[in-house]
Amino acid sequence: MLLDRKHKAWAWFTVALAVIGALAWWFDPEASTIGRGGSTIVGLTLGSLALLFMLFCVALSLKRRVPHWRLGRAQAWMRGHIWLGLLSVWFVALHGAFERGGPLTTLLWVLIALVTLSAVFGLILQQFVPRLLLHSVPGETLAQQMDRELEWIRKRGEEVVIEFCGSIETAQPSPMPEPPTKAPGMPPVSTPAHFAAAAPAPAQGGAAAAVATAPPPASPPAAAPPKPKGPPVGGEPLRRFYVDYARPFLAGEYRPQLASPGRAQSLEAALRTMCPAPIQPGIDAVMSLCDRARQLRRQRRLMRILFAWLILHIPLSWALIVLAIVHAVFALRFLQR
C-alpha cells in the first residue's frame, strides 16, 4: 500500500497510543514492587492489546476471503493492519520490558522480528515496484495470461519468419551479393559476423542502408512487374537472426543481445542495414515480438519480487499468532496460581 497523506491520521493515532503506552509503562505503580514486565496490570494490559492488534492483523487474511462482505472498506483494514501491526511490536516490547525472556518468548521475539521485517520490506516494495511495472511494462497483462501470451508470441514469431523468409530451418538462396560491413556515412554497427555473412547488398554497390531504407525507384506504371508470389528475397539475415537469437529468446532462453532494450536496438539497426525494404516489416514484427516477450518477462520478475515477501510473512504471522496465544494461556494460568 502506498504511504500517502491518507495515512496521516493513522500515523498520529499510532504515535499517540505508543506514547500513552510508554508513559503508562514508565509510571507503572507496580514497577517498584514486582518490577516492570508482563506481570503487572499495565504490562498485562499492554500484552493483551498487542495480542488484540495481532489478531486484527491476522484477520485481514480472513477478510480477503470474503471481500464483498460489509465489514468495512478493505483499505481501512489495510491501514489498520500496517499501523496497528507496528504498534503491537512496541507494546510487546513494553510488555516484555525489553527483555528476551524464556525459550517461548525468545521464539516469539524471533518471529515478531521476522514478521515485522518482512512486512516492512513488503511495504517498501509496494512503494516503488508498482511504479516500475507501470513505467517499464506498458504492455502489462494479467498474471494468469502471461504463459498463454508468451506461447502466442513464440508461434507468431515462427509465422512471421516463414512469411518473410520462406523457411526457418533452411537457408534461402539469395540473389544478391555480399554486403559491405559498414555503410558510407553511417556509424559503424556491430554486426554479428555469422548472420552478416548472409546479408544481401545493394544492387549497384551503394550503401546497404540505402537499400534498406530508401523507397524503391519510381518506375512507369505500365512497366511494373506482376507481384511475385511467396516470400520476398533477401530474408536470410532475418532468418539467421531469428534462429540464433530471437527464437531461443522467445522460447525463454537467456540472450544478452535481446535481454536489454538498448542492445536489442543496436542489433536491430545492424539487421536493418542488411535487409532490403520488403523484409523491413518482418524485422519490425520480430523485434516487436521480442520487445513484448521482454516486457512480459520483466512483469513476471517484478511481480515475483512484489509478492515474494508474503511467502515468509503469512506463515510466520500465523505461527506467531498461535505461539502468542499459547504464551497468553500459559501466562494467565501462571498468574492464577
Partner: protein, 546 residues
Amino acid sequence: MAKAMPLAEFEGQVMSLEELKAVDIFEDVKPDAIEKYPGTVRKRLFRAGDVICQQGEGGTTAFYIVEGTCRIFIRRPDEMAGKGRGLVARIGRALGQQKLPSTRKHKAEAVVPIDASVDLTYGRLATTLEAGNVFGEMSCLNLAPRSATVVAETDCILLEILRNMYEVLQRSKTFKGRMDAIYRERVLDNHLKNVWLFDGLPQGVIDDLKRVGELLSYEAGKQIFAEGDAADGMYLIRRGQVRVSKKFPGGERNLAYLTRGDCVGEIALLHDTPRSATCTAADHPILGDPGRKRRPAQVELVKIRTEDFKRVIAEYPEVRSRLEILAERRLLEQAEARVLITPTVYSREVEDLGLIQGQNLMLINLEKCTRCDQCAQACMKAHDDGISRLIREGPRLDKYLVPASCRMCLDPVCMIGCPVGSIRKAKDLNIVIEDWCVGCGVCSKQCPYNSIQMHTLEEFGRHVSEEARRVAETGEVVEVTDRAVVCDQCSGLPQGPACVYACPHDAAMRVNAVEFLSGYLTSPGATTLPSFVRAPVEAQPVDEGT
C-alpha cells in the same frame, strides 16, 4: 452464434408464380414484382416436433405459416445450483451479507419482445403461432439473430422468404393489413399494459386505447420528433429501434436505444410540455457482412394522440388522478438520475478511449495497485453466479488503467440490435441484461470497450429445467448455451461496487469521467492530457423521448 445463415441452407421447394399467387398474402402482389426475384420464396414442410429455427443462431429469412401451428419459445435456465451454498456463504447469509442475483425478477405479464407477429410474456416464455402468422422478420430484414426457438407443433407448411421478396410483401396491402390486425389483436394489448403509465388500468381503457392507436412507419434515419417540438402524444415501438438523443452545448449525445415494446413520450399525454429529447428511427447493425448494401430498415410505431388519450381517460375520472400521481413520481425519479454531459471537445486520446462516455467509469491507479486481484475476486464473489464482471486489462491513461467493465456509457450502443430486448437501461442508468437473454452475442460485439462478456451457462452453475433436460436429451432443440454478462455496478449492494470496496490499496475507483477528467487536468500532477477541458454543464433531466 450469430452468424448469417449461408444461402446454401435456404432449402425447400422453389415456388412458381402460379403457386405464389395461390397464397393469400401474394394475392395483390404484382406478378412482375414476384418474377423479379425468382427463387426467393420456398415452400418448407415440417413434421410435428421438427425444429424450424433456434434462438441465438443466425438467419436471413422470414417464415410465413401457411398451414399448421408452431410453438415459439425462449428457453431460460431457471434454477440456481450449488454456488453460494457453502459454509462461508451460509455464515455470510446468517450475518446478513448479500450477494447480487444474476437475474432480476419481473411481473409475469412483462413483455418479452421476439421476432414474430406476437410477443411473449415473462411468466410464460412460449406461445403458439397459427396459420397466417410470420416470424423471423428481423432476421430477414436486419440479419438479427433468431430471437426464439420455433418448433412445429403439428405438421406445417411454411413459406421461407428472402429479404427482397419480403420487402415486396411489405408493400402489399393484404399482407400489411393482416399483420396490423394480428398486432392489434394479439400484441398491442400487452405492449400497452407494459407501459408504466397504463399499468393496472381497467381493460376497458386499454381496449379504447388499442382502438385509437395509430400505426405508423418510419424509415431508419428519419426523425420521429425533435427536441423542443410541441408534444402531441406518445409512441409505442412495434418493430425496430428508436434512438433517443439530446442536444448539449458540446453537441448531440445519444442517450438510449429503445426497442419493441418500449414507449417514448408518455408524459406528454398528461403534461403539455415540449419534447425534451429527439427521437429518431434507428437502423440495426449489419451483422456478419458490413459491406452488404441494403435499404434502410423500417421502424414501426403506434401513436396515441394526446387528445385521443384525454378523451378516453375522461370517461374514467378515478384513473386520471392516479395517472397524474404516477407521472409526478416519474418526473422526480428522472430528476434524480440527471445526466452530466460534457460541453466541450476532449483530446484525441480521451475520445479514442471513449472515456467521456463513462458516467461511472472504473479506473485503477497503477502506482498504487499491487495487482493482488482482490477487485476481480470481490466482483466474482459478490454475484451469485460466481462470474467476475471486471477484467483487469485495458487501455491506460497516464497512471490509470481503464479495465474492461461497464462504464455506463452516455451512448449505450450495446443496446442496439438485441433480438429479444433483454438488454436495458435501468432507472439508475445501469445497463442490465435480463434472464431471457438468448446468448446471441450481439451486445457483446456492439460494446466498443469489451465490457460485455459471453459466458457459457455451465459457468453460471445452473441446472436446466426438467423439461429442458428432456428436450436436450432427445435432441429436439439446443439449449441456451451462453449468456451475456455485464457489470451492474453492484447497485443492489449498500456498500457500493464490490471492486472498489474490496481494493485494499486504494487503487480502484469509480468516477464520473467528465468530473474526474476536469479535476484531473487542473491538478498539479497532470501530465498527459491537454488542458482544454472546461467545467461540465449539468443537463436538464431527460424523459426518454418526451
